[in-house]
Amino acid sequence: MKCWITLLLVLSGSLTSAEGVSFSRDVAPILQRHCVACHKEGKAKGKYRLDTYEQLRKELEPGDLESELFFRITTEDEEERMPGKADPLAGAEIDVIRKWISEGAQYDGEDPAALLAVIIPMEDHPAAPESYPRPLGVTAMVFGREGRKLYTGGYHEILVWNPEEGSLLERIPNNGQRTYGLALSPDGARLAAATGAPGQTGEVRIFQSRTGRVEVTPFRGDDTVLTVAFGPGGKRLAFGGVDGKLRIVETNTWRQSLALASHSDWITAVSWHQDGKRLVTASRDKISKVYDVTSGKKLSAFSGHPGAVRGAAFHPNGEEILSSGDHGHFFLWRIKDGKKSADRAKFEGPVLRLLKAGSGLFASAPGGMVVQFDPEGQQRLREFRIEPREGAEAPTVSSCASHGSWLAVGTLDGRVAIFNTESGEKRNAFVAKP
């Protein structure tokens, strides 16, 4: 009997702790985990959204336990109960929500319109495993300023390699689970990472490249960020991902200066024009768009891609865009009227990465290949190929980086190869796995 009383005291104690329930710390994680997939912007089942405090308050009266939200999670009627087709919320979770509503459904964040995923307090990322049990797909890479370092995305970390020897130089911890884009600021001082845990979180993190310290996390979202790029001069940082929004932050304040709902599907790539005023996006919605970053105005769009667009870059003439994607085409189209001017190449499968570099344009192609074009994308100059592992199919090229005459190619089976773009020879190859 005594035990029971103790237990009850412990339980009630945890619920009536002095500080009460915090929305962002206690309530938001529950809603994020169970409700938001079906009740968010763009997919508001029952015309009901729960992805921000502002939205959920529309149907919630503080103190009212009869309100729709609370009724739906507590009703016995399985037809009515939420989450649909799943187990009901745990008793402890319901208690938290009950208490929060009873206490007045207060908001303890800054912006009531911020996504729940963003206001949930940030904790440090878990440490990466000492050694990886399996290779991880190399989905992002960038060379250091001098070319002596190659940064690749690891698991909750960024790995720093000596490209010539394939040796691991450093491990930069406290990063998102996977890294899909890496960018180095023009002065080489900062490393921006587009990261996230698929289906759960997304972040843009800024690291000091010298110390590996996290300087700032200018963006958090509820799904992965897929691409990030510093503008010329490094004053601005553009990025995009699963939420289809093009965002720009000013690097002096790290404040967001632009957020545009620009695509109806994932943004897979962004690329700046050298004037720093325009940039081009690529999206899974089969469209590529050009924006004026100061006004946020859309200047042009090309919707002639038969499939998802995975890469886009400005033609050196500044009047045209080169874009490629799942369809395997390498299109050249005019900004002026959004019309195709040429179809430069046709690959047998998806072109996942398009890299614009000093030595030309690089397009990843099926069969573990990267094809080098001249900067106009007109002439096919050279091919670089990564051989399949024994008994396996050709690898998928999942990232590229270039520095001087070096080309680094990363694959989904976890390998990195370094090529010399002048001689065509392979300098080095290693498995990017600690």
Partner: protein
């Protein structure tokens, strides 16, 4: 007292066990590797009764170090070696090997089947053509290489996490650790979870070296079983056979489905649980292989006694056998009036005239029903009405084939019914039609079936009762039809040339010497292929359609007679033995297989004489049974214990209204005397832009537009529109108030009110009003200020009775 009860129970049990024979499946088996398991199936046999004992029996393992057996009869390996498992006086010998060796998960044989089993790749979820939530799997894992790409490499490996497998989106979503629109599909503690997790942890390999191919599956029990409540469960086991000779128990990887969950449910683990009496097919799928087993559930109904009616013919014998087994009571024969009305409507589409009702009722001839049936089958109305049914199926409409062709094709159909053209000849004339459609109207078949695939799909649905369309893009999810079959069948129709001459609606149909079908996935040139017959080589000058028709109408085709038999049965009984009648598949078994077999055999032996078949059904007690139910058959909708009332079709209703009111509806573009049940097409009325939006009575009542070959195009739902038409619609109002209609003529002729009411009842319902009904009507008419209007109201009331609107 208590001891006595206990003793009796014990004795009872002993007696039961004393006569029980046990059968255990399989007698021996080899388990390879630590992940394989074996589902035992124990059958108890007492006399001619069987029941499943899998979960009610003790399993004794001789060497418990080798295997473990659960209460559910699942054997799991523990160590290499051999052990016997004793079950009563039976035993199973299990050999275990390779438990100590690495046993990587097979993507093809394990990962994909598990995703199928969880429902991930179902057509309503990620298996739909566009997937769900940007995650698309091939339907039921029909395209493993596409799924490999999607699961492992698409979107840069988003769905699997090789470092921390439990954090793979593929596992977080279905367990709802990350919210999942499809709900919870997977338990973290389940074997399925463990398998998917192992596969990811092993690096999500897509192929295994020298992996033997699966060549088929076997299920147990495989033969039909009758199960008696309350022993209503049945465990099913599934074995896959591989090209290297190995067998593996895949009960834990297969997908189970019940054809009718009102009769029985089946669990993910293959345990069938009976719910209600009736027949059910349990369908098992592993990879692309499908097998099914039929179970019949029987329940003792309290107070039920077999009334042992005398059968009129073999149909009744077989229907009664089923009813007796399921303990449904066969209904009494209907009265003469109900029969007369019913048989007229079914055979001719028309109500009997009021003048013939009393004559028929008073006729003392024992054979009068049979004689009436013969007479009606010879009538012109019969030919026109049954030709119309084929017109629906063959898309005979102006929109599809043109005005002129409509009349020609319809005339051909009417003649075919009138001359009782044998069904095989009828089929042949349609399918192999050659030359000018003006001379051979059946060639219009290839006008609506205007291309190779349409012609094949139409022919398969009409003559094979198979909706094969799904197999165009993927192996049929519920059926044996594969994509290969689809394109093989299409090859029969790939060399048909259709040329319009410009002379009226003339179309010339002939066979070309070339024209090939290529398989879209393999690019292979397909040779003609037919079920059971296999690949057929048809040399160039021969028309491939001839080969097809020869196979179709020949002995080698199990479908031909059954499909037409079922169609005719369904027209007469309102429900097919297979329902829908053009959807034959293992998942949709006949409710009474011996009945369908016997009818089809009778039909075949008669030389495909459709009138013979009609006569046999119409003369059966089953057809002539009353629609009134008893407490012992009111729940039956599928076994023909009583006649199921059904609403008149649009055409029948319009004609019935015309006949009762004496003011039939007039149709445009056809002879004035033509009735709705004889119209050659539903769209002969000239297109009039000014009248778009006009409500057409027959459309409201479900008249099909004949744009598809599916009988389902005919609407059989009741609707508000129908209620409004019958309440105060223009057509009905015009008919009731028509000065030249029967009612107003009778008023002018000074026929008495009572006589008028009686005539209306007789014409509409084939019976006189009951005393109470008559009194009510007469009261109303006599008290009304305007007796003429009151009589119109009376007619309106009669026409709005369910008894009029329904065939019963």
């Amino acid at each position: 007292m208590r001891t006595l009860v206990a003793t009796i129970c014990a004795l009872h049990l002993m007696a039961a066990w004393g006569q029980t024979a046990l059968e255990v499946y399989p007698p021996e088996f080899t388990l390879v590797g630590k992940r394989e398991s074996l589902q035992l199936v124990v059958t108890r046999r007492e006399g001619d009764r069987v029941s499943d004992g899998t979960r009610e029996i003790a399993y004794q393992v001789e060497d418990p170090a080798i295997v473990f057996v659960s209460k559910e009869g699942v054997v799991r390996p523990l160590a290499n070696g051999r052990s016997r498992i004793r079950i009563g006086d039976q035993s199973v010998l299990v050999t275990v090997t390779a438990v100590d060796l690495p046993n990587p998960v097979s993507f093809r044989h394990e990962t994909l089947p598990v995703l199928s089993r969880l429902g991930c790749s179902a057509g309503s979820c990620h298996g739909s053509p566009h997937g769900k939530g940007s995650f698309r799997l091939s339907l039921r894992a029909s395209d493993p290489s596409l799924d490999a790409l999607t699961l492992v490499s698409e979107e840069l490996g988003r769905r699997t996490n090789p470092i921390e497998p439990d954090k793979s989106l593929l596992l977080l979503k279905p367990t709802t650790q990350v919210s999942h629109e499809g709900g919870k599909k997977l338990e973290k503690e389940s074997a399925e979870y463990a398998l998917l997790r192992s596969w990811i942890a092993e690096g999500a390999p897509l192929r295994r070296e020298r992996e033997a191919a699966c060549v088929g599956v076997e299920i147990h029990p495989s033969t039909a079983r009758v199960l008696h409540f309350p022993q209503a469960t049945q465990q099913i086991s599934v074995h896959a056979k591989f090209s290297d000779g190995k067998r593996r128990d895949v009960t834990d990887l297969a997908v189970f489905e019940s054809s009718n969950t009102k009769v029985a449910d089946v669990s993910r683990g293959g345990l069938v649980s009976g719910v209600e009496r009736g027949g059910v097919a349990i369908i098992v799928r592993y990879l692309e292989f499908i097998e099914s087993t039929n179970l019949t559930y029987v329940r003792e109904i309290e107070g039920f006694q077999w009334n042992d009616p005398a059968p009129a013919n073999y149909i009744d014998e077989l229907v009664y056998r089923k009813l007796r087994q399921l303990q449904f009571e066969p209904a009494q024969r209907s009265g003469d009036r109900a029969f007369l009305r019913r048989v007229h409507l079914d055979v001719t589409g028309q109500l009997p005239g009021l003048e013939v009702v009393e004559t028929f009722v008073e006729d003392q001839d024992q054979q009068k029903r049979a004689k009436l049936i013969d007479r009606l089958l010879e009538s012109e109305e019969h030919a026109a009405f049954w030709a119309q049914k084929w017109g629906d199926l063959l898309r005979v409409s102006k929109k599809q084939i043109g005005q002129g062709a409509v009349f020609k094709f319809n005339r051909w159909l009417v003649n075919a019914v009138a001359s009782n053209m044998p069904y095989d000849q009828f089929t042949r004339e349609i399918l192999t039609a050659r030359g000018s459609s003006l001379v051979h109207p059946a060639a219009n078949y290839y006008r609506s079936a205007g291309n190779t695939f349409d012609a094949m799909e139409t022919s398969a649905q009409l003559f094979l009762g198979s909706r094969i369309q799904c197999a165009k893009c993927h192996n049929h999810p519920f059926e044996r039809w594969t994509q290969d079959n689809y394109y093989g069948l299409a090859a029969f129709f790939s060399r048909i040339e259709r040329k319009k001459t410009g002379k009226g609606d003339e179309l010339i149909v002939y066979a070309k010497k070339d024209g090939e079908i290529t398989h879209p996935a393999t690019g292979e040139k397909m040779s003609p292929w037919a079920p059971k017959a296999g690949v057929m080589e048809v040399a160039a000058p021969l028309d491939r359609r001839d080969a097809f028709t020869e196979w179709l109408t020949g002995q080698n085709n199990p479908f031909f007679a059954r499909v037409e038999t079922n169609r005719i049965w369904s027209y007469l009984m309102g429900r097919g033995i297979v329902e829908p009648f053009d959807d034959f598949r293992d998942t949709n078994p006949p409710t009474n297989p011996p009945l369908l077999d016997a009818l089809a055999e009778d039909f075949r032996r008669s030389g495909y004489d459709r009138r013979h078949l009609l006569r046999a059904i119409l003369n059966s007690n089953t057809y002539q049974a009353t629609s009134r139910t008893t407490r012992f058959n009111k729940e039956d909708r599928r076994y023909f214990s009583h006649y199921q009332p059904r609403m008149l079709t649009a055409e029948q209703l319009v004609d019935a209204l015309g006949k009762v009111t004496g003011w039939p509806m007039k149709f445009v573009g056809v002879p004035a005397s033509m009735k709705a049940t004889q119209l050659p097409a539903p769209d002969l009325k000239p297109h009039n832009r000014g009248r778009i939006g006009e409500i057409e009575f027959m459309k409201v009542f479900g008249q099909p537009e004949r744009q598809t070959i599916c009988e389902c195009e005919r609407g059989d739902d009741s609707s508000l529109g129908q209620a409004l038409e019958m309440y105060n619609g223009r057509l009905l109002h015009g008919m009731i108030t028509a000065g030249d209609g029967h009612l107003h003529r009778w008023i002018r002729e000074k026929v008495g009110e009572e006589e008028i009411v009686k005539r209306l009842y007789l014409a509409a319902l084939c019976r006189a009003p009951r005393e109470q009904e008559l009194a009510l009507h007469l009261d109303y008419i006599r008290q009304a200020g305007n007796p003429q209007e009151a009589l119109e109201d009376t007619l309106w009331i009669v026409l709005n009775k369910s008894e009029f609107l329904f065939q019963h």
